[in-house]
């Protein structure tokens, strides 16, 4: 390999690292939203069943939503109104949701300045297979509206998107 090629590859590698570092230290709104949603998935996946842990987890999850959040799950189920109702439901379902891990994929962010964004993503629920059993995935495309307030992006509306009609 010639010196010129090595120098070229080195410059490209340094440029890639520099761009990644820049985006990581000073994330733009799109990156902030993506990071926020990935952090939500991490907190959602944190498994805890002891009383204090459950309360702390619920409080942490609440910070990802606006107070007047609306969640529409479709398929004839009525919409869920309000952060308190949503987090209350999530806490009650903790034992059931502990059997899954949530993974957010293909997070597409469409910014609506000054402080709103529409997000399309795939939520993948992976069933935690026991020893010898096969894991399985339930996937659901979702549409989110997010609002920025006090420097923090929060989810204000959630709706499921069906690929088929």
């Amino acid at each position: 390999m010639s010196r010129r090629v090595i120098a070229g590859l080195t410059v490209i590698a340094v440029a890639v690292i520099a761009v990644r570092a820049w985006r990581s230290w000073w994330p733009d709104d799109k990156r902030q939203i993506q990071n926020r949603l990935y952090a939500f998935a991490d907190d959602f996946n944190e498994s805890t069943t002891d009383g204090l842990g459950t309360v702390a987890r619920a409080a942490r999850l609440a910070t990802y939503f606006t107070e007047d959040v609306v969640v529409e799950l479709g398929q004839g189920s009525p919409p869920i109104h309000g952060r308190e109702t949503l987090i209350g439901m999530a806490s009650r379902l903790q034992l059931r949701t502990a059997a899954f891990t949530l993974e957010l994929l293909d997070v597409n962010v469409d910014l609506r300045p000054p402080a709103e964004a529409e997000v399309r993503l795939t939520a993948a629920f992976r069933r935690l297979g026991g020893a010898g059993s096969e894991g399985s995935i339930e996937a659901q495309e979702m549409s989110l509206r997010m609002i920025k307030g006090n420097g923090e992006w929060r989810i204000s509306h959630v709706a499921t998107v069906e690929p088929f009609r």
Binding site: L9, L105, D106, T122, I137, Q140, V161, R165
Partner: protein, 146 residues
């Protein structure tokens, strides 16, 4: 240098052209068993359209997770299920890839100019457990080739 070039070609091929997928779930049985490895050719429809019988990958929000189904209805056709039989423009369709049938029923739907009717081969499932229906062309990522 050759290794770098080879790695770059492999990356481009398997990232954007031939996407490897692992099937999960019974909806395409017996054609595809759950947990089998398949390849989606994203160039399949670059110069043509999906046709009846094609097994295709359908994207959700992106290509990371796809739904695999068979195209049974193409634009302009009328599609319905009656007593488990698939009807195209009012005529039952011969489907040799279907081995078990439950009496699925679905009202007739007319496909728009960019719409396809897709369904899995496993009709032995409960209809309520099987996702199928009309999908927009822009959601079809490519053909499952092998």
């Amino acid at each position: 240098m050759r290794i770098v070039a080879l790695a770059a070609v492999a990356f481009i091929t398997f990232k954007w052209l031939l996407i490897p997928i692992r099937t999960d779930g019974p909806s395409m049985q017996p054609t595809y068993e759950s947990n089998s490895l398949k390849i989606v050719n994203r160039l399949s429809y670059a110069f043509g359209k999906p046709s009846r019988g094609d097994v295709v990958a359908i994207r959700l929000a992106g290509p990371s997770l796809v739904i695999v189904k068979r195209v049974v209805g193409v634009p302009g056709e009328r599609v319905a299920f009656a007593g488990g039989a698939l009807h195209i423009n009012g005529v039952p369709l011969d489907e040799p890839y279907v081995h078990n049938r439950r009496p699925w029923d679905r009202a007739e739907v007319t496909l728009g100019p960019r719409e396809y009717f897709v369904v899995g081969d496993n009709r032995g499932m409960l209809q309520s457990n099987h996702k199928f229906g009309v999908v927009d062309e822009e959601r079809i990522l490519g053909k499952v080739v092998f």
